[in-house]
Symmetry: C2
């Protein structure tokens, strides 16, 4: 059963600010053999977000205890942690010094077919755009209506992910993943200073690229950049890294080559 | 006690999409002598929002029954109605055809001092900006982190409201109210096609202005427009209409004149 502030519960108080305003943050964490993967990275992002939103600091040791309590006997699972600014009276103004609400829940991890990793996945364009606001950019907060609307655009099971542009037409990310482009042996990924979610695996890829001395640019990305790319791949905490086989009519046959940069980075990630 | 899907409850299921994604809408309704004010207007906005977000349609007759059940014996109160896309499995994609969750809760209405209405209120500028996204503009949805951050900028009790600009520097609204400007006997209010909440009292003011043949413009509003205004006033469902006495160092002495346009519109509103 999920834990709410350490107690087993399937419900939350109606006056929680997470419900009223999306006033909270979340992390989606892969559990492997009872252990949460990339725990430190998830906690760093949660703490950074919590600081930017002015939350009472989160006790990550307590979160760790609660996470292990839920996950110990889980071979493979998804742990979702939600931190909200707690309960409150009516009105936008946050109360000062109130403790945050901690919600931890386990979900089944549905393993992806092996060919997703060897042959890549198919993507589409979303028409739903991301609004820009540097204040909230990068955070994995609970204001996710744009992603909900984007994910509602397709129901074809063979389309794994949809790519979103911001309202200026810049390519930013997938609805639930970050995006990387390989062109002429260089790695590009969209700048997330105006919108988007800065994923923990995205961060890991940036570090791997640096370590492997792969030329890397975090930059403005256009639709043309994707159409002219040699390889594309996407990342998130559950999939790790997935090569892209096609984006609508554009094919990326080399993304799954043994010699591809995508493969090199995926291999380096698997060795960490 | 609040009603969740018609049943008395102070809790909501942890898997509600309102909590996870802010995937919902709300209305804040003034209760006077057991009756919800501007009920039709609130329901029209809720239905329009629900349609834009692709929700299963809301049964407004049922909502009305539940609202009256809560409010019948209330002299003055605030009724908050939250409609979410219901409960769901993990993931952004909405399930099709699932009923929405209805939450109705009563809050005390703290009456404002009479001098707010006669002499006006003081405003400040917020540094928190509103992101732009036509997809969500105008809706009273549950993604309200920008308002939370803006409302957290001041704690002085004598500042009633903060005015927000969008990321392009256009003046849009208050954290919890809409904004009107009077200049040379003309009425201006910010265009909300890229961001902002289209309030029900804002709508009422637009209709009153039309009926009284007051020249009216729904347009791009700049900081300069506010500094050069003859009168300012703000509106929302709880305050109705409040004249603005000052915005930081700028004074608006004529807003509370008996001859002011602000007063004419307020009087017309009180007669409806």
């Amino acid at each position: 059963m999920p834990l709410v502030n350490g107690k087993a519960s399937t419900q939350i108080s109606l006056n929680n600010r997470g419900l009223h305003y999306g006033d909270g943050l979340f992390e989606t964490i892969k559990i492997d053999n009872g252990q949460p993967l990339r725990w430190q990275q998830h906690m760093r992002r949660l703490q950074a977000g919590s600081e930017r939103l002015g939350f009472t600091p989160v006790d990550t040791n307590l979160l760790r205890d609660e996470a292990l309590q839920l996950c110990t006997n889980e071979q493979h699972a998804v742990l979702k942690i939600i931190i909200t600014r707690g309960a409150a009276k009516r009105g936008y103004r946050p109360s000062q010094g109130l403790p945050c609400t901690r919600i931890l829940e386990l979900h089944p991890l549905h393993p992806y077919p092996a060919h997703y990793f060897t042959q890549g996945v198919a993507l589409r364009w979303c028409t739903t755009r991301l609004g820009c606001n540097p204040l909230l950019a990068g955070l994995k907060h609970l204001n996710r209506l744009e992603q909900v609307m984007a994910r509602d655009e397709w129901y074809e099971a063979d389309i794994f992910e949809g790519i979103m542009q911001d309202i200026n037409g810049h390519v930013i990310e997938g609805t639930m993943s970050n995006l990387f482009i390989v062109r002429e042996s260089q790695l590009l990924t969209p700048d997330l200073s105006a919108c988007g979610v800065a994923g923990v695996v995205r961060e890991q890829v940036l570090q791997i690229a640096q370590r492997l001395a792969i030329p890397l640019s975090v930059t403005t990305v256009t639709v043309q950049d994707l159409l002219r790319a040699d390889e594309l791949f996407i990342t998130n905490a559950l999939i790790g890294l997935l090569p892209v086989r096609k984006l609508e009519e554009t094919l990326y046959p080399s993304a799954s080559d043994a010699q591809s940069l995508t493969r090199r980075i995926a291999n380096a990630m698997n060795c960490e």
